[in-house]
Amino acid sequence: MSAFNAIGDEREIDRDEYTPGVEPQPTWCPGCGDFGVLKALKQALPEVGKTPEEVLTVTGIGCSGKLNSYLDTYGFHTIHGRALPVARAAKLANPDLEVVAAGGDGDGYGIGGNHFIHSARENHDMTYIVFNNEIFGLTKGQTSPTSPKGHKSKTQPSGSAKTPLRPLSMSLNAGASYVARTAAVNPNQAKEIIKEAIEHDGFAHIDFLTQCPTWNKDARQYVPYVDVQESDDYDFDVHDRAEAAEMMRETEDVLNEGTVLTGRYYIDDDRPSYTQEKKAVGELPDQPLAERYFDDDAEWERSYDLLERHK
């Protein structure tokens, strides 16, 4: 008998299964964009046929990091900025798990920036959702890597002298094979993009614009969105790297000027995921390692067979 029977369970899944019982209720502020991510995920997961027990959500720290406290899957709420390395290893240990990592812009693009670049570079098969509210929420409103230049906060009283980071271009350049941006106030698109990202075989990065009405009242997330796929004004091939890069540049140039474009920016279906690459070079076993410990017939190599070369 397999040790992981929840994986591949084909039954109909009720969306309520993803909601924990009475407790805990989200502690997010009223109007917080984070509710939008939670809702979109709860809708997307059953639609892609995943049972709560075959999903592992791994989050960082911040208001965003609490996502999996309110979502009834297997969850790992890690530490500030470290969701991705934990998630990557869980996926390698058991490639059959559906791994969704999430965190904030401070969490993922700031303290965890290095992990972000390398996870994209390696193209790990997982979905990474960054709640981008252009601010540190949980620590009460400090400037984040995506806050616009000139942004004033208690720690940047004269206004930030830094140009904001460009998450879409960054992940494209780092090697992510799926890059999209969506927004909490655009729930249908958000759900569709999350579904696509989960089904994508490779590192799927979603820059998810979430408003923080408590600390970031000036943020542009309130203005209407334009879906780049739906609008006639934008025409580019989402599979073409150069065109995607150009669109991202344009989008990121105007984001803080009141124009918010969302949608899919880059999809590369041909690039093998890290799991595939690692298997191809013979560094990842066919049977998930995690399974092997429950397999009574598994052969465990003895180190003393290695002693030959030490004689």
Binding site: G21, E283, S303, K311
Partner: protein, 634 residues
């Protein structure tokens, strides 16, 4: 001493093949029935620079490097000979000879490479005069010339080994076998020619006017020559570890490399990642998902692991981390041993943080304690650390093959099967009470793995309720904290009652004085204790391996049994002595310290001398490199 042991030192430049040559020579000595122990000294530099390896071979057991040595094979530093390199490397061409003479014992033998060390250089050293004073036997040989004639210049190592064998009256058989295993074709032919010619040239040209011979020995079982890093890596393999993540840093890189090279064949996973925070976090992620995982680093890299270490503890994710110390602070001396990260390893990470820490004292212990580390980590869901150093990591020693003949244990400890999960406690919404303090025994609440039916829960680094929800409820906090704290006590009890002691004792049982040490200083102390007792002193030695939880009872008994004790460790701030006093709360008046922190490990004679000055109160100054700290109140 020199009559029953050979300490052969091969010196040259880094990158000259000193390491591989000495490894093979050590094996040849082991195969001829001797016990061997190697000590490696090298600079933090890839090519050039002075490096040496010492091989101590004797019929009796050897646990340590010796004091000084009695046979020098000085190869030139070829790289300093390249004029273009000189600006960078400096004028180091005769270092293999000049740097090594101070420690050569009386009656010792020197072979130096005439092809690389010029007559003028030798004259400048006053070699003739010194040789006469010390009764050294000097053999200038053109090793480079010989090597060039039959093959390539780099094969001068082989010429050196051939000459050594001739001067020691040694059989070439084992050396030839090892060469045949390692190479083939023209390279093998050339090397064999060089070996034989050097051997014959020396035999024909020189009389054996010195006393050194290879001691003769016999092993009744087969032996393996392996390093502390090998022992840790193999211990991990036998414990069922199949996931390693790391970032290179000397000397931890050795364990990382050995596992990375072996894992593909045994279905394990190795990941070299972006930094040490990631490395330890990956190990946590893999362990969470159900694989026995390990990571590690050296001091500077381990500093970054403090975060994931705490995460593992709070989420009760089993984990083994190794910390291979080198001299610090900061980048310190990358290739030099020190035992100065003890406090770093014991106390890093915020909160009432706890972990198990073992400090193996020799190669066998490194293997045993690595297995133990995995057992405890998975049984108790707690991070377990192995702290060792550059010395233990890189030294090689022969170990009886039978020592390793045991079953692998891929047991996931306190992890439930789906069957068991069905019976386990759940909350109203169907979540598994993963952190159930009500039913925990010894603080351990059995866990589930992602993907198992009926096992859903949240693991979080925040304080949490039984199903893992973030919780700041005071009662829950106290219950969870108390439960986690209980583990260390339970582990202490298990170590005291169910397992063989991991502490090592040597010397006389009812001795007047004690020497107490930890980790890799064990070997030198063991030998020193033997020598002191042979000289009529009454000394007992104790080497402590359990740093946390501390073996309070055992150490108390030891310290109560002696009048005074000297604490020997390789650091400047007496960290282990501090731990003793913190854990035991007394004995301050009984303890003195012998400290060494110049980048070289203790030699037994230094410990003997420290004891004579420190404890037996002989009126003399100890060696400059060793510092003595008086007892409290002095």
């Amino acid at each position: 001493m020199s009559d029953d042991e050979l300490i052969w030192r091969i010196a040259g430049g880094s990158g000259d093949g000193i390491d591989s040559t000495s490894q093979n020579f050590a094996k040849a000595l082991m195969r001829s029935g001797l016990n061997v122990f190697t000590h490696r000294h090298y600079p933090s530099r890839i090519r050039g620079g002075h490096t040496y390896v010492e091989i101590r071979a004797a019929e009796h057991e050897v646990q340590s490097r010796g004091d000084g040595y009695n046979f020098l094979l000085a190869l030139g530093d070829s790289f300093a000979r390249n004029p273009q390199e000189e600006a960078y490397y400096g004028n180091e061409e005769i270092k293999p000879l000049s740097e090594n003479l101070d420690e050569l014992r009386e009656g010792g033998v020197i072979i130096y490479d005439e092809g690389l060390v010029s007559e003028d250089d030798v004259e400048a050293l006053n070699l003739d005069e010194r040789a006469e004073e010390n009764d050294w036997h000097v053999f200038p040989l053109d090793l480079r010339g010989l090597a060039k004639e039959h093959g390539r210049e780099v094969m001068r190592n082989t010429a050196g080994v051939g000459a050594t064998a001739a001067l020691l009256d040694m059989d070439l058989e084992h050396i030839e076998d090892l060469m045949e295993d390692a190479m083939s074709g023209d390279v093998l032919e050339a090397n064999l020619d060089i070996l034989h010619e050097a051997y014959e040239d020396v035999n024909e040209e020189y009389e054996f006017e010195h006393d050194l011979r290879v001691p003769t020995g016999e092993h009744d079982t087969e032996q393996a020559l392996l390093s502390g890093s090998n022992a840790i890596a193999y211990g991990a393999i036998d414990a069922g570890c199949r996931f390693i993540a790391g970032y290179p840093m000397t000397p931890w890189t050795d364990v990382f490399t050995i596992l990375s090279q072996n894992f593909p064949d045994m279905g394990g996973i190795s990941e070299q990642v972006e930094d040490e925070i990631a490395a330890a976090a990956l190990a946590v992620g893999a362990s969470h998902a159900g694989v026995k995982a390990m990571s590690g680093s050296s001091g500077g890299g381990f500093a970054l692991m403090s975060e994931p270490l705490g995460l593992a503890e709070m989420t009760e994710t089993p984990l083994v981390l190794v910390e291979s110390m080198r001299a610090g602070p900061s980048t310190g001396m990358p290739t030099k041993p020190e035992q100065a990260d003890l406090e770093h390893v014991l106390y890093t990470s915020q909160g009432d943080s706890q972990r198990v820490v073992f400090a193996p004292g020799n190669i066998e212990e490194a293997y045993e304690q690595t297995r133990l580390a995995f057992d405890l980590a998975w049984d108790y869901q707690i991070p377990v650390m192995l702290i060792y150093d550059q010395k233990l990591s890189g030294e090689n020693k022969n170990v009886d093959i039978e020592f390793f003949d045991r079953e692998p244990s891929p047991d996931l400890g306190s992890t439930l099967t789906e069957e068991e999960l069905k019976e386990a406690a759940h909350d109203n919404s169907g979540k598994f009470k993963r952190f159930n303090y009500e039913t925990a025994e010894d603080g351990v609440a059995p866990r589930s793995l992602p993907g198992q039916k009926n096992g859903r829960y949240l693991a979080t680094g925040n304080e949490h309720s039984p199903v893992g929800h973030i919780s700041e409820d005071p009662d829950n906090r106290v219950a969870q904290m108390d439960r986690r704290l209980e583990k260390l006590e339970a582990i202490r009890t298990e170590l005291d009652e169910e397992r063989d002691s991991t502490q090592t004792y040597f010397g006389e049982e009812d001795a007047e004085y004690g020497i107490i040490t930890w980790g890799s200083s064990q070997g030198a102390v063991e030998e020193a204790v033997d020598r002191l007792n042979a000289d009529g002193h009454s000394v007992r030695g104790l080497s402590v391996s359990d740093m946390m939880p501390f073996p309070e009872q055992e150490v108390t008994e030891f310290l109560e049994s002696v009048d005074e004790a000297m604490v020997v460790e390789m650091n400047a701030s007496a960290q282990f002595r501090g731990l003793l006093q913190k854990e035991l709360g007394r004995f301050g008046e009984k303890l003195t310290s012998l400290l060494k922190y110049n980048g070289n490990p203790f030699e037994p004679a230094e410990v003997v001398e420290g004891y004579e000055v420190n404890v037996a109160e002989e009126e003399r100054e100890p060696t400059a490199q060793v510092r003595i700290e008086p007892a409290a109140g002095d």
